[in-house]
Amino acid sequence: MVDSPFVIAGRTFRSRLIVGTGKYPSNAVMAHAHEASGADMVTVAVRRVNITDRSRESLLDFIDPTRMFILPNTAGCYTADEAVRTAHLAREAGLSNWVKLEVIGDERTLFPDNEALIDATRRLVRDGFVVLPYTNDDPIACRKLEDAGAAAVMPLGAPIGSGLGIQNVNNMRIIREFARVPMIVDAGVGTASDAALAMELGADGVLMNTAIAGATEPVAMAAAMKHAVVAGRLALLAGRIPRKMYASASSPVEGLVGR
């Protein structure tokens, strides 16, 4: 079965799995996990350079920019102004005008602040950015982000790093149905079945960090996620059978021995 390519803002990606670069046991493990994941887009954060200790390894030594598209985020920003400033810094530090936009509204849940997120999206689109906003699983917020010029919508499956899996399955379906841009489920994945479910619900891609980086064996989990995303996508395209209340025999009911 031939799938349509995964395209965001005119750029085609080989993999529908997008992975993070945070919280790995080491940069070497991260590089192996990235390889195993098959992903060709990774997220990074923007932070002050450590002036006092220059001995630390540079993250970019462990990411091959010829194979990986680097997507900077605005994680940790709590206002539209902070997020816009961080996005501009990321654009100067990096190679592209893409940003994974986060404007957080609450420290404990890390849920996005919709109003500020929409405002920041509008401003960054005006400044020439390709904006991929991390958003609530709210179809109306997603619609407003799309109207503000977002290149994709990235609803959360569950709180960041929670591993709870997709909490509002039906909203994901509705968001997919509403959106004219790619829908990427971002955050909340705990294990492979969560990623497969996201794809079965119609997600165009899945973005995850902790589910891989925090696994006991990150490299093995990265491989599991790769297969899960492919499996979920194929299952969606294949067209699942309808759910029924009662059994329907798989084997013929005629020709039974002794009847």
């Binding site: 990074v44 923007v46 002036i51 540079s58």
Partner: protein
Amino acid sequence: MPRFGAVRSGHGPSALVQITLNGEQFELDQSVSVSALLMRLEIDPRRVAVEHNLAILKRQRFSDVLVHEGDTVEIVNFVGGG
């Protein structure tokens, strides 16, 4: 107070240039270009972005923008994140 970075060269303390670098006080022995500051800090200019007095600098301008007394400089890079 700064424990690092300052290169004193026989001037009195009044000759030192005080800046705020990534939120911390930092001393220079004279006004220097952003390029020279990065070199002194052993930072590869190709991997960072620099904000000077809240204005983001294009990389091509690192060599001609000077950091003066009282200036604020932010140097950021990419780190692991989701």
